[in-house]
Structures are given as structure tokens and as C-alpha cells.
Assembly symmetry: C2
Homo-oligomer: 710 residues x 2
């Protein structure tokens, strides 16, 4: 009896141990499937298709049994197939399927002879996979019904994660542990079963939200990436990702011919260099026949590039494009360039790339960060969008929270990306949103793409913060459909990840939707930017001054605070950056009285007593906005604490602890910035605002022991 009791207790502990919730399952929980399973009498599908296998496997995991395979006119059956499959051919939806393209799909309720069928169909197996995940999603979120008529195809043809993973396993700007791809240091290149199962989980998660590409290494790329040793590992990764319709891409170092190949130059116009690249690309495609292509950071922040040899970015990109072209590969060439001291940093990418418009091969796409500086909590959109009319551009957004509190702060970035994608460039009149300039709506480019810098690492929950998973999710969903609202995305994610109970969903959703604005408020409101601590970018350092460092890496370059005022004059009286925008934006931005408050100190240097639209003076507005951010984080804490009964204790406590850090940091930000700027404004913080709790002197002594990778 006693032995039985001990055995039972041990078993119980093991079960608890196995089930201890660490967030590893992401949004792929599907814990409502069992309850929803009676909706289907069976599945009518070709069992050999990967999408069908995937569906059946998930179904079995969650309901304990396979959905029976059926054929013929059975009520409530689920029909899954591509346009050439018999079970689909008979449905008369072929034109619709062709119209949706290879990655598109339809999900429909079809009634015939008093029988009802749910159909998931596509032109190609690629699309079928996405259709199946869509079906699983609506089953999980409670949106499944018997009157479905869904027709989807992606906004962008390339939807790619950029992993800033170094070959030593560290991740630049990674806050969730080390790399899932390069988890062993160079001395231990063995691939384990654990690696393989992790890569499959990663692939499924990506496929479930429509991501179809992964750049496996840091844009600050090592030439060694293209060595045979590493390419063999890339091959292994690619073979796990391939079933999930995910291509692998690599970041390359532009001086690889010299540093890896032993050539005397890496000049893109040199025949030997061209030859070297052609051979290297052939070698890659022999290993990975569906290899996606290259991502290139060149002549940027000290990295080599064509300008080192007197060539242009176009020369460099085209040379690589020529090598990739025969294999169907593409070049994603980054526009993130800013030579020190040449002009207002915000203008430099535009000045560099606009003259090259039309000079790129058709398998080159220019990867442009959402804003003109660098992934700040808020920037206006980069003026390159809409302006480069003869060259496809791909937006690059940052999923990892380099400038948004790492994995400590809950910031749902979807609203930022939505704001960016919906920004009207006016390049083709009103309604020329960034989304439409990049997805083929306005410019009829063949190649469309979007990139997100991944926030994924070896942490059990993948992203560090449970809610950072929502940013991975949101990037995938927006890459698939750039007109989705953040509210819709949050709703889906919460229901799949936590609970569908409205008492949980609504407050948590409202917290998520408010979170980015709150972060802007407590970090850098009213268009302020780049006030971050040097190097690691965590926490405030508006006073930062590093001897010998680039001036455009110093916060003072951006805020210009003095007794006269604060802000960066990018109007016609200043750097004239406004001229890079189309009318009427340039005029609106140029006039402080029409410039939106959210960008006002981005475009203007204004006196402390400048009258804001609220009627308050600028200094007061700044104070109230910082304070609002603090109050918002406190409300988030309340929100979450109230949700305790809906969440497992592990994830509840993790999020609770991080919200505490965030609320604490918000006060740090507010005090640091207001006390620092107050030295110049020489005005009191409005007296109805909560007072600082720190001394500026003490805050200025804070030096966190953090690096730019972990």
C-alpha cells in the first residue's frame, strides 16, 4: 500500500513536471479541439499530403484519436485537397483557387443534397498547409461555423524572419537565450535530435502564421557562414523547414571573396569576384535546391560593401543577383546606411538610394527599416517608401525589442506596425499607404517581401516574455495580410495562447493594444528618439556622452535640449528632411502647428513654452505624457493581476514579475528624462503630477552590465 502510494505520488509529480506550463507551446495549443471534434464526421483527403498529415497529427494529439478517413457523400465531412485532387475538382471552385495563387486557399461550407461539407482547398500544397492552419485557428478561437466562405492569399510573396544569430550561438539584440540554429559553439557542430525537434517546432509555428522564410544568421555576418562546414548545417536546417514551406536565406559578408575565398579583392565588378560568388552560389544550391537567397548589410556601421571599391550599392547588389538568378534566388539589400557626419542621419538612406532607383536587377529588393533612424519606439515612416518607384522595397520591422524594453516590457508591436503600414505616403495621391507601396498594389513589382527581426531564442518560451510571442505572431499575420487590425490579431493570439473567456480576452486585449503607446509615453513621447543608454539600449541616458563615439549615436544629437528648447529641426529652417516626403506631408510636417504631436520633436526644435494643441506648453505636455505612461503601466499590472484565475500560475507569475519591472522602469524613464530636461526647461513639473522618486545624479551613475547580444 505504502509503495503504491509512493509510486502514485512520483507519477503525479512527473505528470505535473511534464505539464508545468512554460509557454513553449506558443499559440499552438488547440485545447478546444476535443470539444470541437464532433463538428466533423470524418476527413476526405489524400493522406500522403503533408498538410493532411499535419492536421491529423495535431488532431490526434489534442483529441486522442485520428479523424476517420471517409469518402463519398457523408454529412459534416471535412474535405481537404488541392485543385487537381478529385475531391476538390468536383466542387467547381477551380477558378477561385487559381486566382488565390500557390500560397492561397479557400475555406468554405458547401451544401449538397442536404449534406454539409467543410472544404479546405488550394491551388498548391503550399496553400493547403496555410488553409489547414487557418481551419485549426478558427476551431480554437471559436470562429468556426457552418457558413464559412474564406478566401485568402498573402500580401507579400516573401515573408521572412531575420535572425541576428551569430555563429558562436549568441544573438545580437536577442533577449530570449542563445540561438536555436547555432546552439553549439563552433567547436561542437554536432546536430542532435533535440535540435531537429526544435527546428520542426519552429517551422510549424512559422507556417501556422504564414512565414515562409528564415534568414539564419546575423546581418553583421561572418564570412565563415559560407564555409562548407556551416553550409552543411544550413542544409540540415533547410531540410527540417522545407515541409513547412519555409526557405532558408543567409546574410553574407560582402568581403567573403577576400576573407573566405582568399581573393585579393571583393570588388563586385572584378571578374574573379563574380566567378567566386557564382561558384559559391552553385555550391549552396547543390546542397539546398530551394535556397532563398542573400540578405546583405553593406557599407553600414563599419561592414564592408561595394563602396569600399568605388562601386555603388546597385553594383554590389546586382553582382550577387546575377549569381543567384539562374537558381531563382533573390538579394535583400539593406538601405540602413548612414555615413557619420554627412548630413542629418534621418536623410542619409534616402540620399544614398534614390539616385539608384531603377538600377537594380529584378531579383533584388531593397530592405528598408520602417523609420528613417533605427527601430525607435516611434518614428515617422522612412521617406523611401513611395519614393523609390522603380525598385521594389521590403519593409523591415524589429520584432525583438532592442529599443522597447527587451523581454522585460510588455509591448504589443502590432499597433506600431499597423501605424507604419497604414501611413499614407501620398506618393500616388491620398491612400498611398506604405502597405500599398510595398505589396504590389501601387507599383506592380513582381517581387514583394517583408522582414521581421526575430525575437526567438533557446528560452523555453522562445521569446523571453510570454507576451513577446504575440509580436512573433503579429509579424507573421501582418506579413500574410497587411490590412489586418491589431485588435483582430490580439484577439486571435489571446484566444489561442491563453483563454477565450471574454472576461479575460477583453481587458488583456485592451492592455496589449495600449501597450506600445504607453511605452512611447514613458520612454520617448512627442517625437523624441534615441534617448537610450549607450550600446545596450536598455534604459534612459539622455545625458549620454561617450568620448570619441559617433555623434549620431549620442542622444544629444537627437534631442538637442538646451535652455532654448528641445527637438531636432528637420524643417526647412533645419536639416530639411521634411522635403523627402510628398505633399501634403512635407508641408504638414514642416509647420509645428500642423505637425502631429506624436512627431513634433522629430521634426522641430521648439521652445519649452511652445503652445501645444492641447493648450498646454510643451514642457508641461512632456511631463503629463511621461506621467501618463507610468500610470498606464500601473493599470497594466492591475489588469493582469485581475486575470490570475484564467491563467496557469507559471505564466501568470512570469508576466506579473515582468510587469513589475516595466512599471518600475517606467518611473525610471520618467524621472531620468524629466529631471534631465528640467535642467534646461527650468520649469516645475506640473504640481498635480506624481513627483520624481529618484535623484538625477543617482540615475546618471547607473551603468548596466549588458552587451548588445546575449
Amino acid at each position: 500500500m505504502m509503495r503504491n502510494l509512493i509510486a502514485f505520488t512520483l507519477m503525479l509529480l512527473m505528470v505535473i513536471g511534464v505539464n508545468a506550463e512554460n509557454g513553449h507551446q506558443l499559440w499552438l495549443r488547440f485545447d478546444r479541439l476535443e470539444a470541437e471534434s464532433p463538428v466533423f464526421s470524418g476527413i476526405n483527403a489524400d493522406k500522403s499530403k503533408f498538410a493532411v498529415k499535419e492536421f491529423q497529427q495535431i488532431w490526434k494529439e489534442k483529441t486522442g484519436k485520428l479523424l476517420p478517413v471517409v469518402s463519398g457523400q457523408i454529412d459534416n465531412q471535412l474535405i481537404v485537397g488541392t485543385r487537381k485532387d478529385k475531391n476538390i475538382l468536383s466542387l467547381g471552385i477551380d477558378k477561385e483557387l487559381v486566382r488565390q495563387g500557390k500560397e492561397g486557399y479557400v475555406i468554405k461550407t458547401i451544401s449538397k443534397q442536404n449534406k454539409t461539407f467543410t472544404v479546405v482547398a488550394s491551388a498548391d500544397e503550399k496553400g493547403l498547409l496555410y488553409g489547414v492552419y487557418h481551419l485549426l485557428r478558427i476551431l480554437q478561437t471559436g470562429e468556426f461555423n457552418k457558413a464559412l466562405n474564406i478566401s485568402e492569399k498573402p500580401s507579400y510573396s516573401v515573408r521572412v524572419l531575420n535572425h541576428w544569430d551569430n555563429l558562436d550561438g549568441t544573438i545580437e539584440r536577442g533577449y530570449a537565450g542563445r540561438s536555436i540554429f547555432w546552439r553549439y559553439s563552433e567547436e561542437h557542430p554536432t546536430i542532435t535530435d533535440k535540435d531537429i525537434s526544435l527546428w520542426r517546432e519552429y517551422a510549424r509555428a512559422n507556417a501556422s502564421i504564414g512565414i515562409n522564410g528564415s534568414v539564419l544568421n546575423n546581418v553583421n555576418a561572418s564570412p565563415k557562414m559560407l564555409s562548407e562546414e556551416y553550409l552543411l548545417k544550413v542544409k540540415a536546417i533547410a531540410s527540417e523547414l522545407r515541409p513547412y514551406n519555409i526557405k532558408v536565406y543567409l546574410s553574407i559578408n560582402f568581403s567573403s571573396p577576400t576573407n573566405l575565398g582568399g581573393l585579393k579583392t571583393s570588388d563586385p565588378l572584378n571578374p574573379e569576384v563574380k566567378m567566386w560568388w557564382a561558384k559559391k552560389v552553385n555550391e549552396i544550391y547543390k546542397l539546398i535546391p530551394d535556397f532563398g537567397g542573400f540578405l546583405v548589410k553593406a557599407n553600414s556601421e563599419g561592414l564592408p560593401g561595394p563602396q569600399d571599391f568605388g562601386r555603388t550599392h546597385a553594383d554590389g547588389a546586382n553582382m550577387l543577383a546575377d549569381a543567384l538568378k539562374p537558381h531563382g534566388g533573390i538579394v535583400m539589400w539593406r538601405a540602413f546606411v548612414y555615413d557619420a557626419g554627412k548630413d542629418d542621419r534621418a536623410k542619409l538612406a534616402y540620399k544614398e538610394f534614390m539616385p539608384l532607383d531603377g538600377q537594380f536587377r529584378d531579383n533584388v529588393i531593397i530592405q528598408v527599416k520602417n523609420g528613417p533612424i533605427d527601430f525607435q519606439p516611434r518614428e515617422p515612416f522612412s521617406p523611401l517608401f513611395g519614393a523609390m518607384k522603380k525598385t521594389p522595397l521590403m519593409p523591415e520591422v524589429q520584432i525583438t525589442q532592442e529599443y522597447l524594453g527587451f523581454s522585460n516590457h510588455l509591448v504589443f508591436l502590432s499597433t506600431m506596425w499597423e501605424e507604419f503600414l497604414e501611413s499614407d505616403t501620398y506618393c500616388n495621391g491620398k491612400g498611398s499607404t506604405v502597405a500599398k507601396t510595398t505589396d504590389g498594389t501601387i507599383f506592380k513589382q513582381k517581387l514583394t517581401a517583408i522582414a521581421g527581426v526575430a525575437n526567438i531564442g533557446l528560452d523555453a518560451n522562445w521569446c523571453g516574455h510570454q507576451f513577446a510571442q504575440a509580436n512573433w505572431y503579429a509579424f507573421g499575420r501582418l506579413a500574410w495580410n497587411n490590412s489586418l487590425t491589431s485588435a483582430k490579431i490580439a484577439d486571435e493570439w489571446i484566444k489561442q495562447t491563453f483563454s477565450s473567456d471574454a472576461k479575460f480576452v477583453e481587458p488583456v486585449k485592451s492592455m496589449m493594444l495600449e501597450s506600445r503607446e504607453a511605452t512611447v509615453n514613458y520612454m520617448m513621447p512627442l517625437g523624441l528618439h534615441h534617448l537610450f543608454a549607450y550600446g545596450h539600449h536598455y534604459g534612459p541616458e539622455p545625458w549620454c556622452d561617450v568620448a570619441g563615439a559617433r555623434q549620431d549615436w549620442m542622444p544629444k544629437y537627437y534631442h538637442n535640449a538646451s535652455v532654448k528648447g528641445i527637438g531636432f529641426d528637420r524643417s526647412t529652417t533645419g536639416s530639411n528632411a521634411v522635403l523627402q516626403y510628398f505633399s501634403p506631408l512635407k508641408e504638414d510636417f514642416n509647420d509645428a502647428n500642423t505637425c502631429p504631436d506624436k512627431y513634433i520633436l522629430w521634426f522641430h526644435f521648439l521652445p519649452w513654452d511652445f503652445k501645444m494643441k492641447s493648450g498646454r506648453i510643451l514642457w508641461d505636455e512632456l511631463c503629463y505624457t511621461y506621467d501618463k505612461g507610468v500610470q498606464q503601466t500601473r493599470e497594466f499590472q492591475k489588469n493582469w493581476d485581475k486575470a490570475e484565475r484564467f491563467v496557469d500560475p507559471e505564466r501568470f507569475t512570469q508576466v506579473q514579475n515582468r510587469l513589475r519591472i516595466q512599471a518600475h522602469d517606467a518611473v525610471w524613464w520618467k524621472d531620468a528624462c524629466l529631471l534631465y530636461f528640467q535642467q534646461f526647461s527650468k520649469r516645475p513639473i506640473p504640481y498635480d503630477i506624481e513627483r520624481p522618486v529618484y535623484k538625477l545624479d543617482d540615475l546618471m551613475k547607473i551603468k548596466l552590465d549588458l552587451t548588445h547580444h546575449n
Copy 2:
């Protein structure tokens, strides 16, 4: 020209330097005297009197000239003198002066033959000094008028500061720098002019508020205190304090006969020991003829005492009293005794001393801390007050903020002392307040006294925190008049120390009056006590557990938190401490439904869901009260920031910085206590309350590098 400019600049800098406001002037600024000076046409007084000199010196400092000495019937003259002086004799107020005693005085407006005189008169020169300071105070606070009829005498005959100053210059529980008396280490006993001027300033400050005694060394006394070397220094100090009517006292080590005198025993009944003390006392009085007497901490916290020889506290005190009696000296014998583990610590002083009631000589007074434990933010009064009817008791309060945030927190202690003095003991029916049991109103003892543990050190502002000066001030004022309200004291202090502008006085006063309750709220509300960090007593440590340490030094001894509830059961079902109080207090305290909330967890162990008078359950009430404390500190910050224009920048900034620390610490306290207790209550913090920003684990790691002296 240039040389002149440099010289002028230097001079300017010197003037600024000299005038830089550091708070050293305390409440003795008298900056309104110049404006008020026309009220007197001249002074009619004996210039040789110290009080007259003091008045003229201050007058000259502030108005630039001496008030002219006049005689005869001159309108608006100021008449100053004692009852035997001619200018007073003629006024017909002799009976009144005699009635006020040696330290009392009157201030009157007297009109004769269409002439108006302001008269400051007393029976003795001691009283005249207090009268003169009173006149200066009302001139400064704007209360002077031409219809004065003031008659004052002190509530206690001995009004003494206890300096816990060690002979090496450190101060136990001192937070304002090192000792002003023992500023040189034992190797450098030289007395400098700076010492002498500081001692005079100290004496004037004390005299201005009625303090007439100083115990110059720590109650944890070194036998060396009574060595000739140190007595010579005491003599020097005494000679500076004497003109200000301040007697010096010394704390003695009960084993001095052995440790200093080389005797084999310090048994108080041993004839050689008695002889040794008699000789030592003679030696002291030869040096200091008006020496006040001894303060004794015996058989307390490891110090020697009569119980080491099988004698009682009465035996020990009486032996010393006999030695002092011929010289007019007194013994202040502390009741702060608690042998480990014998019973509820709160009961031990009562149990030890009640059996000795009536056994003490008439020049012995028992010094009793306000509460039964140890200077906590809130305690009920010690049950010895009112209970010892045949022995005079003197209250001991702590001016230095050992348990109230050191010199970082703004806590106006006057309200705590007012609450204590006004506590009704019911020893003689309703209205038998602690004040009346100790000042001779109820028990007709000849000897009355009150002690405050000083908060004074070498810091430029004397007390560390500018507002800690108010506690020194308040102690003096309450010792003089134990029925003064804290509102009146705060009003006087603010007007003398900062400004009389009502826009400043009223909000600052309300902050001061609220500050102690706020501190109780964020530190230890609802009767909780002794949750402090071990040793240094700064910050919360409800979890504290030091291996081998006395249990009654551990917070858990006091809070007893468990899943069952929290608090110390001192009711009849517990330690029965309630029985040490008179009816109806004992019954009120004994029943959790009638026990005041502020003492409820002092007297009761209650379940977390105990229904409080507010209708809330105990846990919620605890949460709301901690949170209220936090909100109150934030309001203090607003209050003070609004006052900026009324205050010099130096003192403004000092106070502002300390209020920030206080607001910060309040959150620390709240989070530490609520998160710790929540482990037992297992209930949510009510959701409308601001959430914790710290993790308990992190807070439990905090180990401040502080000692119990500085």
C-alpha cells in the same frame, strides 16, 4: 580695473559662501526682527543680566543696532527684569511671578498714564531667559501685539536630551554625523574654539525651546566616562551650557567601580562600592557644582546592573541616589529591561518594576519609554504610566528616527508624542492622561522630568534632515508645555524656520501633521511592529531570521504571520498583556471588536478574513493602508515641490531629495510587507490598488551596509 573686478568677484563669492543656506541656523533666524523693531522705543533692563545680553545680541545681529537702553516713563519701551529688579517691583505682579516659579515668566502689555510698556518678567533669571526667547519667538511668528498677557511655567522640572554619543565620536542611532561633544577621538582630546562656539549654539537652541539638561553620553555607557580625563571635558562643556540654564548629566556604567575603580565588585550594597561612588560624585561636583545627575541603563541588553549581584533595580538606583543626594543630583533609572524568553517582551518592564513601586529614594525617577517595546512608529503607551503611583516616572521619547526612516524620511514626531501624552491611562478615572500622571497633576511628586533621545550631530544642519530639526524643536516645546498641540508647534516652527507666508505654512504644516500617520501606514499599520531590518533598523525585513539571535529581536516574534492569520495575541487568550492596563482599557483592548484599529494587531492575532470596522476583511484593510501610506508620501512630494518659491534652493533641494527617497522607500515597504504576508494570506491584493513593482525574492536579498551607529 581687472584687479578690482577679481577682488569684487572674490568678495561676492565669499559673501555667497557665507550665506549659502545649510540650515545651521535652525529656528533661530529672527529675520523679521528688523521689520518689527519699531515696536520698541528702547529697553529698560539691567544690562548685566544674561537674558538681557542675549536679547540685545540677537537684536543687534538682526537689526544692525542695539535697542537703546532707556528708563522712566517712555512709551513703547520694553521692560525686562526679575521680581527684585526696580523696573519690575513697581508693576505689582510679584505674586504672579512667584506663582510661576524659578523657570516661569510673564509677558504682558501694561499701560500706565497713556504709555504702553511690554514687560518680560520672572521670579528668577532662569525664567527671564525663557521669557526673552518667548518674546523673540512671537516677534518672529507675527504673534506679537500690544495686548499681551502671557504667563508660562514648565510642565516638567527636568527637560533633558539624552545623547547616545560614544566617546569615540560615533553616535548610536545617530543619523546626522558624529558627536558634537566627543568630536575628537580619544587620542585628540583638545578642545577648540570651534567646539566652544558649537556648544554655545547648541545651548542657545535648547534654551530657546526650554530644554534645561543634557545627558552627554550614550546610555550604553563606557566606564571611562567617569575618568578624570573625560570629566575635565564635561566640565568644559558644562561651563558653556550653564549660562543657558542647561545642566549636564552623565550616563554611567554600573560596573564602573570594578572596571574603572579596580574594585572586586560593583555590588550596590557593598560598602566599598558605595564609598567609591560617593567619592566619584564628590569629584564630579568639585568640577561641576551644578551637575545634574546620572542616567542609568542597567541589566538591560547585556549591560551590568544590580541584578548581577542579586540586588534589585531599587537597590542599585538608591545607592547612586544616596551618593548624589547631598549635592542635589538625581538618578534617572531606565525601565527598559526585558530578559530574553521570560514572557511577552511587552510585559517585562511592568513585571520588573511594579513590585518595586515605593522603594525608590525621592531623588530617583524611573525613565520609561513611551511604549512597552521600543520606539516603534506606533505603540500603545507603556502600562507603567499610571500604574506606578508611588514612584515618579519620566517619559522617554526618541527624537532620532531609529525606527522611522533615519534622517531620510520626513516624519514630524510631535503628533506621536501628543498621542502618547494625551493617552488616557484611567489610573485615576477618566482623564488620567500620561501627561497628567507624569507632570505632577495626578501624583504629587516633587520630581518631574521628561527625556528625548537627541537627533543632533556634526552635520551642518544638526539633524540630517531639515525637517528633523522640527522634532528637536517639538520635543523642547512639549517638555515645556505638555498640552501644546502639534499644530501649534508645527506652525511656530515653520514660521521661524522658513516663512510666515500662509501659502507656505498651511500646506507644509498639513504635510507635517500627516507625516507620522503616513509613515505608520507604509511601514507598520494596524498595530504591526518591529518588522525592521536586523541591526540597523532601516527598511523592511518581516522575513528576518538570524541564526542564534534573540527571538524577541526577530520580526516573526511580533507578527506571527501564518496561513491562520497575523498579529500578537496579547489578549486574555494570549500573553495577557492587556491586564497591565486599567479598566476600561483592558477590556477595550482585549476584545478585537472594540480594540482601536491602530492597535489591533498589537493586541490580537486575527484571521486574514477578520471583519474590520471599515467592513473590509483584515487582509484588504492591510493592503489599503499600506497603499495609502505610499499615496501620502507622493502627496508630500507635490506639497513640497509647490513650496519651492518660498524656500532657498539649498534647503528646498535637500528636502526634495529626501522626500524622493521616502516615496521610494514607501513603495519598498509596501511591496516587501504585502508580498511577504501574501504568502500566508493567499489572497489577492485588492485590484484597485497600485500593484507591487518589486519581486519579494529581490527584496529579500537586500542587505544594506549600515551599522547601528555612524
